[in-house]
């Protein structure tokens, strides 16, 4: 499968050029995150770079402790610090807005993406150093002030967590939890939807504060009395309407009933739907889904995956999928990046990576899944365990478990480089001795399997 | 480690002990890294040292060293007087002597009360938690009754009924403090009991007693250790309060008694007779609370400070 933005562009007829010229929605550059521990600094993420394009679903796959969750959390600066340290790199994010020509449906003006870039506030779109000459507003999520970050969190970038039971507040009804993001990020639109404009007169500031959920008790009392009551009721109805709408989008039966229930009254699958409704309420550009189905049963999992995919298509958002399950990611994402011990070892279109894995780790990971043809007890296990990432020396992180490891693998960091057909892989098996600058005899070969 | 020759039986024991000791030491090291905890430990070491060296630091009073000596020739001497560094009381008792031997009294009091209450509390709480059902019901209702009475008032009532003596203060405090441990350990036991390793031990076929001793108790005990440390301080605080209101024998070398007897002189400007012992009570309670909190942070980082 190819990039849907691109395919869509082609459908509209040679318009993909516009989308192509555009800088990616987000680009992670040489991200380094470390954790201070008793034993030393753990390099949890160690030089990770990737792009997320408009409208694509990118899968980030790897096993426990490979740094995939930490990478995803760094988008919203949610890595606990201390002990976490943002030791280097950038997470650049380019906020979009809905295309005004087509209203988000995809047209010539937006290159079929339904969303258009916002102009760089410094150079007004002509291109400056801040936006890498792209003319698009570019935010470095690791350095942006907390206030600006809060505007982005839940609004332009939303996140779904692995355990919906823990991510929802057990003491609040579902409605309030979804309404909260609307109050924080969409107060203007709430007022508009409620049909409240300047005719409210002197009450306007109070209503605005109410829409932002910042009213004090006295203000709420005042708005509960006749002149303001009409407006505040309309506002309440607008919130309820919007919440019900976003719940209905996740195909919850009877959303009006569900939104008044508490999380513990809902099943795991329902809770995850509520999480999704909350995440998509503000129509974010990027949805980060951190193992969204790991806590669910298989039959429910299939439904949730389908739902995310469908909503992604409708909202034309990009999705960053975090998962340990390559087979699952293959179903839901366009491209995939495989992580091991804090680094990306391979990336490419997911079908291609799944069908023809290049890196020995990816190969091992796929071979380890029991299939119908595997003889019992003869699974291709990857022997050994994940290395300790405390102050690592330059070396391929996988060398101790790799069946092909050679001297070069133990002393030089293999770079993530595309060799054939645009598929980057970080492995010396695909490099020549000259490229690496190492002795020929120290290079690994396919024949050198241990 | 493969090169280690096969140790004899004794060798295995020694090695296991060494591993356990190292683990204990590493926890200890972590506790001491916190500066406030370190301060608490320092104070405790100083006070306990003082208690142990009491006969060396001052000439013990005969026949009973725990009674204040009376120097009738030096009543109400201010601090700095020769032979009476911290002054004397209205009865001619040396304040420094009271503080030094009072630390022995406090140490004795808190050690006895805490060890007795921990023992009772752990037995009751673990019986309730481990056996569950009826036993649990009955024991916990008894605990509830004890808990429903404020501890100071309860201790006061007991001491009042039994008459004023230091031994009765110990008894009164013990009657109050065990309840807390029973509560804590019961909750822990119920929680720990659900771990798979308890089921694993049952599947092996080990006896209930063994399972309790090896699997349940060791994993339930840490909050008790923390609480016991805190109570080492609290016991002295409440004990001093009981002595202060006159439930200990007059003339006892005990901080609470000294504070109580010295307070009459405060209005007359004789601040030292009650201030120095009062300061000791404060330091003692503070030190154990600092260490207790430090222990809690290390042993169980999840619990928030109450």
């Amino acid at each position: 499968m190819t990039d849907p933005a691109r395919t869509l562009g082609e459908e509209v007829g040679g318009l993909d050029a516009a989308a192509d010229r555009r800088a990616p929605l987000a680009s992670v550059q040489d991200l380094r995150i470390q954790f201070r521990t008793k034993a030393g600094r753990v390099h949890a993420v160690d030089g990770v770079s990737f792009d997320i394009r408009d409208g694509e679903a990118l899968g980030l796959v790897g096993e426990t402790g490979c740094g995939k969750t930490v990478t995803a959390r760094s988008f919203l600066r949610l890595v606990p610090s201390p002990p976490g340290i943002y030791a280097g790199g950038r997470v650049q994010f380019r906020p979009r807005k809905r295309c005004e020509v087509c209203g988000g449906a995809g047209c010539g003006a937006c290159g079929g993406a339904g969303r258009v870039p916002t102009a760089c506030p410094r150079c007004r779109g002509t291109g400056c150093s801040e936006c890498n000459l792209s003319g698009e507003e570019t935010v470095d999520l690791l350095r942006v002030p907390e206030r600006r970050l809060r505007e982005i969190r839940g609004n332009r970038i939303a996140m779904i967590f692995q355990d919906p039971g823990k991510a929802l507040n057990p003491a609040l009804p579902v409605k309030q939890q979804i309404a909260e993001v609307l109050h924080v990020h969409r107060s203007e639109e709430l007022l508009r939807r409620a049909g409240i404009d300047s005719d409210a007169g002197v009450l306007m500031p109070l209503l605005r504060r109410m829409a932002e959920q910042r009213s004090r008790r006295a203000e709420r009392v005042l708005l509960g009395l006749p002149p303001g009551r009409r407006h505040s009721r309309r506002l309440g109805a607008a919130v309820a309407e919007w919440v019900a709408e976003s719940l209905a989008e996740t195909r919850i039966a009877n959303p009006r009933k569900v939104m008044n229930s508490f999380p513990h009254e809902l099943s795991g699958g329902m809770k995850q739907r509520v999480m999704i409704a909350q995440a998509l309420a503000c129509d974010p550009d990027l949805l980060i889904a951190d193992e969204p189905t790991t806590a669910l049963d298989v039959t429910i999992q299939a439904r949730i995956l389908e739902l995310i995919r469908e909503l992604q298509d409708r909202h034309r958002s990009s999705v960053l999928y975090i998962s340990h399950d390559l087979a699952l990611v293959n179903q839901v994402s366009d491209r995939v990046a495989v992580m091991y011990a804090g680094r990306i070892v391979e990336s490419g279109p997911s079908q291609a990576v799944f069908r023809d894995p290049r890196h020995p780790y990816t190969r091992g990971l796929l071979a380890a899944i029991p299939t119908a043809t595997d003889e019992r007890g003869r699974l291709m296990a990857i022997e050994g365990t994940v290395p300790e990432l405390v102050d690592p020396q330059p070396a391929c992180r996988f060398h101790a478990r790799c069946p092909y490891a050679a001297p070069a693998c133990r002393t030089i960091d293999p770079p993530l480089r595309a060799h054939r057909d645009d598929r980057p892989v970080a492995c010396f098996l695909y490099e020549s001795a000259e490229e690496v600058g190492a002795d020929r005899s120290s290079m690994p070969t396919w024949a050198g399997r241990r | 480690m493969l090169d280690a020759a096969r140790p004899r039986v004794g060798g295995h024991r020694v090695r296991a002990a060494a591993v356990r000791l190292r683990r204990f030491a590493s926890v200890g090291g972590e506790v001491l890294r916190n500066p406030t905890t370190l301060a608490g430990v320092t104070i405790i070491v100083a006070m306990v040292g003082m208690a142990l060296l009491a006969p060396v630091l001052t000439e013990p009073n005969v026949p009973d060293p725990y009674q204040m000596p009376r120097d009738w020739g030096a009543l109400n001497e201010p601090p700095g007087t020769p032979d009476h560094l911290l002054g004397t009381t209205q009865h001619g008792g040396d304040v420094l002597y009271g503080i030094i031997w009072g630390s022995r009294t406090s140490l004795r009091l808190s050690l006895i009360v805490v060890s007795v209450t921990v023992a009772i509390g752990v037995i009751v709480g673990s019986l309730a938690g481990f056996l569950g059902g009826r036993v649990d019901e009955v024991l916990m209702r008894i605990v509830d009754v004890f808990l429903s009475i404020p501890e100071l008032i309860f201790a006061l009532a007991i001491a009042a009924v039994l008459g004023p003596s230091f031994g009765n203060i110990i008894l009164a405090l013990a009657a109050v403090f065990w309840v807390k441990y029973a509560r804590i350990i019961r909750g822990q036991v119920i929680h720990v009991k659900q771990n798979d390793y308890v089921d694993a031990a049952r599947v092996i076929g080990d006896s209930r007693l063994n399972i309790f001793v090896k699997d349940v108790l060791p994993n339930s005990i840490t909050p008790v250790a923390v609480q016991a440390t805190l109570d080492m301080g609290n016991v002295v605080l409440i004990g001093a309060a009981l002595s202060f209101i006159g439930l200990a024998e007059a003339g006892l070398a005990e901080w609470g008694v000294l504070v109580s007897q010295g307070q009459a002189g405060i209005s007359a400007g004789r601040w030292w007779a009650s201030t120095f012992p009062g300061l000791m009570v404060f330091l003692w309670a503070l030190a154990f609370n600092l260490v207790g909190d430090g222990l809690r942070d290390v042993l169980d980082p999840r619990t928030e400070r109450r």
Partner: protein, 463 residues
């Protein structure tokens, strides 16, 4: 693996074919409520389960969370006493046949001799009735490996004490002999002498699971219950553990009960499969039968929902709607009928289904005053006023209601603001052998309660 290579070390006495025999096993957990903790109902975690585990084979138990598979495992390894029925260990072949004959007849039909015979079988083989030496022997021969390797090892014990503990309990060894046995066990699971003096937290998840396995092997058991042994592990480590389990089975002639929600893993490990749903077995058979030609629609849905099984094709059609029913109030008839894509009117539609359906439509259920049940299939629904009652009747008769449900409804009358609703009475479904050694409870195959000329039967079997 059909034949088990004989263990060289131990002389093998005559061995019985069936190692574990589960008959009509029920395990209910009381639900208590209120200050007096009155029992207000029961969670039927396991509700009438029967199957055999033969010596040397691996039986896989699959199902979603809450289907009762873990409770089943705990009953089998003696951690939970059954509410009814039982687990028999190591029955002789004759005894096995007798047990089947005796349990097949209703208890009041047994003669005194037959009752005494059953009592004797219970006393000598039923796990929860074993005492003394028989219990000790069962205890040694039936071990368990839990899912969560973090909670199954005592964090305050050294590895040598954890693995050596079973040997100490049975006074099999002590001193340096004990230590050598422990080292041998560790080596057999891929660990070694260097790990003796470490605490569990110093190991990775896979290594901890190896320690668990070593402990289970210490007493040289015949049978091990593996309760999701690899669910908490990464795929690459999972493969190591699965290979290890298989090697150990071959070397030691072990019999496994392999409980898992992961179909790929169960298929890889098992000779025979048992599929559970809400406390019942819905299908059981050999691995190839169940995976290649599943009979029950639930099994089909499970297979289709697993990404690792469906990765070649893009079939995603079978994802199920709805939620797993509450095991405290399991559905009537076939318990899967609330979510089944090929449901028929004879599958057990009941009042709860109608209520749930109305709820899902959001159709004025706020105006439902109360439900007066005469049975699971018959009830009066009273509404606020006649208008809503009429509306409900129209919904229940209209196209919004599935055709199967409408057909199962044999009475729907309104009088005032009350709607009387009645469905066909349906018995609980029974397992029946459809092909040799392949059983299912789906009525499309068993034909139970189904008219031979039933429209749905024809459609679905023809399709």
């Amino acid at each position: 693996m059909k034949t088990v290579p004989a263990r060289a070390a131990r002389p093998i006495p005559v061995k019985n074919r069936n190692l574990v025999t589960v008959r009509n096993l029920r395990r209910y957990f009381p639900i208590r409520e209120g200050a007096l903790q009155r029992v207000v109902g029961h969670v039927r975690a396991v509700d009438g389960v029967s199957f055999d585990v033969r010596r040397g084979e691996t039986v896989g138990v699959v199902g979603e969370s809450g289907c009762g598979k873990t409770t089943l495992g705990r009953c089998i390894n003696g951690l939970l006493p059954p509410t009814d029925g039982g687990v028999y260990f190591d029955l002789g072949d004759d005894e096995h046949a007798r047990l089947d004959a005796l349990t097949a007849m209703p208890s009041e039909a047994r003669t005194r001799e037959q009752a005494a015979e059953l009592e004797r079988l219970d006393r000598t083989h039923r796990v929860d009735r074993l005492r003394g030496e028989a219990w000790r022997s069962y205890r040694r021969n039936c071990q368990v490996v839990f899912q969560d390797a973090f909670s199954s090892l005592n964090p305050r014990q050294l590895v040598k004490d954890i693995v050596g503990r079973p040997l100490k309990v049975y006074r099999e060894a002590s001193g340096s002999e004990l230590m050598e046995r422990v080292v041998g066990l560790l080596e057999s699971v891929g660990l070694g002498r260097q790990h003796l003096y470490r605490y569990p937290h110093q190991f990775s998840g896979g290594q901890r699971q190896r320690i668990s396995i070593a402990r289970a092997l210490a007493l040289d058991p015949d049978f091990i219950v593996l309760d999701e042994p690899t669910s908490a592990l990464d795929v690459s480590v999972q493969a190591q553990i699965l290979n290890l389990l298989n090697d150990l089975q071959r070397e030691r002639g072990l019999t496994y009960l392999f409980i898992s929600h992961d179909l790929g893993v169960v298929r890889h490990m098992s000779d025979r499969i048992v599929v559970m749903y809400v406390g019942e077995i819905v299908e059981a058979g050999t691995r190839d039968d169940v995976f290649n030609s599943p009979l029950h629609p639930y099994t089909e849905a499970l297979l289709e929902a697993s990404p690792e099984l469906a990765h070649d094709t893009d079939r995603r059609a079978g994802a199920l709607e709805g939620r797993v029913p509450d095991p405290a109030r399991p559905p009537q008839g076939c318990r899967f009928h609330t979510r089944c894509p090929v449901v028929t009117p004879s599958c057990g539609f009941e009042v709860d289904d109608a209520v749930r359906m109305l709820e899902g439509r959001g159709a004025g259920l706020d105006h439902l005053r109360g439900v007066q049940r005469r049975s699971a299939f018959e009830a009066d629904l009273s509404f606020d006023d006649e208008e809503f009652a009429g509306l409900m009747v129209r919904v229940l008769e209209g196209p919004e209601t599935p055709a199967e449900m409408r057909e199962a409804m044999i009475g729907l009358t309104r009088s005032g603001s009350t709607v009387a609703i009645r469905f066909r009475d349906i018995d609980r479904v029974r397992l029946e052998e459809i092909r040799p050694a392949h059983v299912t409870s789906c009525i499309l195959h068993t034909g139970q309660g189904l008219d031979p000329g039933d429209r749905h039967m024809r459609e679905k079997n023809g399709g």
